[in-house]
């Protein structure tokens, strides 16, 4: 690990921190246009973060230290996730640590802490949200792992960097298994990021909310960190999806010119992905919470089918 590599890694993290709220803002803007509302400004999430960071924190009486530390842990997990998903280069210092199973574990750690913190104060909304989050999580995680195993079978490695290198530098071939895995990954990322078929990120009014119910008791900088972490999670999932299924154009070095050259392509891919996300969110209605197991079961099924199709059709030469 040399100093240049370290700087490149720090640059990638800083870019993630900067781009994540922008991605959220872009998705919100697209959604507003599609629903013929007046769109909020693209920088709205930044204004929001700025406002929240300047406000005082109000803590509930029964809040333990867990409640205060959880936002920092969740934020840290998401920054780490963004650091190990290859966005600009596959050869950064953190790349050897970028094992996909560890990545799923990092997401799991953040989920556990946010659910525990939601239950900590003891309000009914908090524990309701925490329980629902765990329900969604324990169904989504196996599906995500299956998706990752399908791509890992193709590249013979569970390291994200190796997967991306193998997929980006192969000759063109149609992988039916990757199509299955891609659809399953889309299902899972909607559930994991509290998006419309499973949860509505724009409401605080309904009894159906999941993510918003968990962070209802937070205020000030804690809330800002959690909102930022949610943006980072969306960013990390988008980048993981791009890395696994559209890996073209991610360079293999850690020199700054290569990194800078990769930025416009990344932004372009994220913009396309964000608008697709908004379209899917607009044409779908939110499901009842008890349909979520069926939805995620379908995702798991698709991922398993991808794995099986890979074994049947693509292993023999």
């Amino acid at each position: 690990m040399n100093i240049i590599g370290l700087l490149a890694q720090l640059f990638a993290i800083a870019l993630a921190l900067f781009l994540a709220p922008l991605l959220t803002g872009w998705v919100n803007q697209c959604r507003a246009w599609l629903q013929s509302r007046t769109a909020p400004p693209l920088l709205q999430p930044y204004y929001m973060l700025h406002k929240l960071f300047n406000k005082d924190v109000v803590l509930a009486h029964g809040a333990s230290s867990l409640f205060r530390f959880a936002p920092f842990i969740v934020f840290g997990c998401m920054v780490l996730a963004c650091a190990i998903v290859p966005t600009l280069s596959t050869d950064l210092p953190f790349a050897p640590a970028a094992d996909t199973i560890a990545l799923v574990g990092v997401f799991g750690l953040a989920r556990i802490f946010i659910a525990l913190a939601a239950m900590d104060v003891g309000t009914s909304f908090g524990s309701l949200g925490g329980r629902r989050e765990m329900l969604i999580g324990f169904l989504a995680e196996p599906a995500l792992l299956m998706v990752i195993f399908t791509t890992a079978l193709i590249s013979q490695s569970t390291s994200v960097a190796t997967i991306v290198e193998t997929l980006a530098q192969r000759e063109f071939a149609i992988y039916p298994s990757l199509a299955f895995a891609g659809v399953a990954f889309t299902f899972v990322s909607f559930a994991e990021n509290a998006r419309v078929p499973v949860d509505n990120p724009a409401t605080h009014l309904e009894l159906t909310m999941i993510h918003e119910a968990m962070i209802l008791e937070y205020s000030g900088r804690h809330l800002a960190l959690l909102e930022w972490a949610a943006s980072l999670k969306l960013y990390a999932y988008s980048c993981l999806g791009l890395a696994l299924f559209f890996p073209w154009g991610i360079p293999n070095g850690d020199s700054f010119p290569a990194l800078l050259a990769a930025i416009p392509l990344l932004v372009f891919k994220l913009a396309i992905g964000g608008s697709l996300l908004a379209i899917i969110e607009t044409v779908n209605a939110k499901m009842r919470i008890f349909r979520a197991p069926e939805y995620l079961g379908t995702a798991f099924l698709l991922a398993v089918l991808g794995l099986l199709v890979r074994l049947l059709l693509e292993t023999r030469v």
Binding site: R170, E171, A173, I174, P176, S177, A179, F180, P293, E294, G297, T298, L301, L302, V304, L305, L308, V309, L311, L312, L313, E314, R316, V317
Partner: protein
């Protein structure tokens, strides 16, 4: 992977879509979307057969593809649509709740089918031999659908989907059956669908519903 020619990749992709549609049919509760899914399956099957015909220069397969398109993607769905409208069961919803369980059983069946088909497909030397497992899985999934459904129309759709699977198996193992056999089967399926359509009216006349569980009450006296 580089050794697999491009046309085989296309055929594999089509076969995967057929498998996916079979699962979608297994999980579909409503009647109309079910028939539409069946039509899509017929369409994909016809396209896959046409690609096989183009790659292997087997001209009779073009006829098979055209027949499939005409019969399974257009005529049979049209007949079924008409039946559903005439029987007024457009909003019929399957009362079964255990669809996730059915899907899990389906995945098990796919694993069995793939394992069974693997040694058989190694005996064959066609370009499409890899899809034999998928064809077998489609047959078994359609069979599972016939077993788990209680309404008459989904059962008939399951029966027709099973024929789709058999057709795919024939194409993938030996580049299709002789033309006479294929014509015979096509006619069989068509006549079968029409006779079953008549049966629907009889069943409804008798029980005021298309739920075939009622037929268990029939006694031979």
């Amino acid at each position: 992977m580089s050794a697999v020619p491009f046309s085989a990749q296309i055929i594999n992709l089509f076969a995967s879509v057929i498998l996916l549609l079979a699962f979608a049919m297994l999980g579909q509760r409503r009647v109309m979307p079910l028939i539409n899914l069946f039509a899509y399956q017929g369409l994909v099957l016809a396209m896959s057969t046409a690609v096989v015909a183009f790659t292997t220069h087997q001209h009779h397969l073009y006829w098979s593809a055209g027949l499939t398109l005409l019969l399974k993607a257009l005529l049979l769905p049209w007949i079924l649509h008409r039946l559903v409208r005439r029987l007024n069961v457009k909003w019929d919803v399957e009362s079964l709740i255990a669809i996730p369980t059915t899907m899990l059983v389906g995945v098990g069946l796919v694993i069995v089918a793939f394992n069974v088909a693997l040694p058989i497909s190694q005996l064959s030397n066609t370009i499409t031999r890899g899809t034999l497992g998928i064809a077998l899985a489609t047959v078994m999934l359609a069979f599972l659908m016939m077993i788990t459904r209680t309404k008459a129309i989904p059962q008939v759709v399951g029966f027709l989907a099973m024929e789709n699977g058999l057709f795919l198996a024939a194409t993938s193992a030996t580049y299709g059956m002789p033309m006479v056999v294929e014509l015979g089967i096509a006619l069989d399926v068509l006549v079968g669908a029409i006779i079953l359509g008549v049966f629907f009216f009889q069943i409804r006349e008798q029980f005021d519903s298309l739920d075939i569980r009622n037929m268990e009450k029939l006694k031979d006296s």
